[in-house]
């Protein structure tokens, strides 16, 4: 089962590279126009705009700085680790806030009706705009820029956790809640013995989504806050120096995508360890 997935993933990667190179080859033959027409192709196929895939792969092994000894791969690994630390803090904070909000909305119907719409709307505020403001706050209050980035990651994480935790906590059938009432069990006992276990199939997909979002938030935060050392900075720097090394930006973007996957995978691994019994359907 897992082997099949791996195979199809590998096949899609091969298809992607084939498509990339195929498009470049076509553009090279038709001078960047649609075949048999004089209409220009949407993306120019020269090596500067679209570096050959071999170049992109090779860039990982090349030194990150001309004449330097550190390879791009190692550099990106360090940057990814930096970003992952910020993302993890953001993930933990966001999860805690999300769960607390869900518990609040569970306890009080009025709180649910009053707070849930705002929780839903919170994600329409463009985070990238708030980021520099959060960093300024952080600097006046004395906490480091990396913590500000973690806070920005928190903002993206709390939402799926809060919404899905609430749904999961409200999911038990009325009969199950009646059963607990027949045992004269209190709200807290019902929460721990019935609602929380019932919420598990809702919680883990939310955690997985939150994990990828925390990486996104960390990178967005790094870029708009100008924090050095992480993948966001790397992407920004390589983008600025695009003409001298176009392949590097692609490499950094690939690294960012892989980091998101790693975060997803870490939560999946935890899920496998923690959950016995019926599992959730895969996304």
């Amino acid at each position: 089962m897992g082997a099949r997935r791996l195979l199809t993933a590998a096949a899609s990667l091969v298809a992607l590279v084939a498509g990339w190179e195929g498009y470049k080859w076509l553009g090279g033959r038709t001078d960047d126009k649609w075949p048999l027409t004089n209409v220009g192709l949407p993306i120019s196929t020269d090596d500067l705009t679209m570096p050959p895939s071999a170049d992109i792969l090779g860039a990982f092994l090349d030194p990150v700085q001309r004449g330097g000894s550190e390879s791009l791969a190692v550099f990106l690994l360090k940057a990814a680790w930096f970003t992952l630390r910020e993302a993890s803090v953001g993930f933990v904070l966001g999860t805690i806030i999300g769960l607390l909000l869900a518990a609040l909305m569970l306890r009080s119907k009025i709180a649910e009706r009053g707070v849930l719409p705002w929780v839903n709307i919170s994600q329409t505020v463009p985070l990238i705009a708030l980021a520099p403001i959060v960093v300024t706050w952080g600097r006046t209050n004395g906490w480091g820029d990396t913590f500000s980035v973690a806070l920005i990651a928190t903002y993206l994480t709390f939402f799926p956790v809060a919404v899905n935790a609430l749904k999961g906590l409200q999911s038990p059938a009325a009969a199950d809640i009646e059963l607990m009432r027949s045992y004269a069990a209190g709200w807290r006992e019902t929460l721990f013995k019935v609602r929380l276990p019932a919420a598990r199939p809702y919680l883990f997909p939310a955690f997985k989504l939150a994990a990828t979002l925390s990486v996104v938030g960390a990178i967005v935060g790094e870029i708009s806050a100008g924090v050095r050392g992480g993948l966001g900075r790397a992407i920004l720097d390589f983008a600025g120096r695009y003409s001298t090394g176009p392949a590097k930006v692609y490499a950094a973007v690939i690294a960012a995508g892989l980091l998101g996957l790693v975060a997803f995978g870490l939560v999946s691994a935890v899920e496998r360890l923690v959950v016995r019994g019926p599992r959730t359907a895969e996304l």
Binding site: R5, R113, G114, P132, T136, I235, Y242, A256, G257
Partner: protein, 267 residues
């Protein structure tokens, strides 16, 4: 909904919102927090008023109304294109299972990649001037949730219904029309509801990487760099308002298309 239940539904969020704003105003005044750290809601409202339709000139690059309009254009164009592409590809891959199984992991990976990373690449591909590059970012952001959800809707049909159609010797085309598409409609509207605010955010993110300055992104950054945080927040409010407006439209479409059905949960 009766007017009583509508009132019941509306007063808690409005009450909470007002309490929150009042608390914000009070905290800033009482603790005498500097404007550059956290402006008062009242100053933000004032900034909104002055900046909304202000004279454009050397002192002010653009007013909020124009910036909102320009960003809105990018967002809506990207939204429509992304939705169309996502739905189209979902249709195509329904027919060919192998295609879907190989494409979906790519889609999931791409969805996990921060969109922020795409902007510089798109600038290299499509150039900084004009709207193509920014629209491209929005299209990519919108495309994947739409594709994933519509594909789910077209494929995850109840086996009973498929068996029934097969017993009628229905062709795949008929099954598509009579069963799969109606089944997929709620998934589509859910994805639309998600993608609408995302399109605005993606547009603004793309604007951070360069391009014309008469849009919301540059307005926010420039005001922030000159410490005019009240103006920056006013622009943020406009951006949120834009996202909300698109969200409301998506919601209306959802209600119109799926009368009486409970909304589907998105993947």
């Amino acid at each position: 909904m009766t007017s009583q239940s509508r009132l019941d539904a509306w007063w808690p969020p409005i009450a909470f919102g007002l309490v929150f704003l009042a608390g914000w105003e009070a905290i800033v005044r009482v603790f005498d927090i500097q404007e550059f750290l956290l402006p008062r809601p009242t100053s933000i409202v004032a900034a909104l008023r002055t900046e909304w339709a202000g004279e454009v000139g050397p002192g002010r690059i653009t007013n909020l109304r124009e910036a909102g309009w320009e960003t809105g254009k990018v967002a809506v164009l990207g939204l429509v294109l992304g939705v169309v592409l996502g739905a189209l590809l979902a249709f195509i891959t329904t027919r060919f299972r192998l295609l879907r199984e190989s494409f979906t992991p790519l889609a999931v990976i791409a969805n996990a990649t921060p969109i922020v990373a795409l902007a510089p690449i798109f600038n290299a591909w499509f150039g900084i001037t004009g709207i193509a590059s920014n629209v491209g970012v929005v299209v990519v952001v919108v495309f994947f949730p739409v594709f994933i959800n519509v594909a789910r809707g077209l494929v995850e049909v109840e086996p009973n219904q498929l068996e029934l159609m097969r017993s009628y010797a229905a062709t795949p085309g008929t099954i598509l029309r009579q069963v799969r598409i109606p089944n997929a409609l709620p998934f589509f509207t859910t994805a639309l509801r998600l993608a609408a605010p995302l399109s605005v955010i993606a547009a603004i993110v793309a604007e951070y990487f360069g391009g014309p300055t008469n849009r919301l992104g540059p307005v926010i950054t420039q005001n922030a760099s000159f410490s005019r945080y009240d103006n920056a927040w006013a622009a943020i409010v406009v951006a949120s308002g834009l996202g909300l407006a698109l969200f409301a439209i998506a919601l209306a479409i959802e209600r119109a298309v799926n009368p009486g059905r409970a909304p589907i949960e998105a993947s």
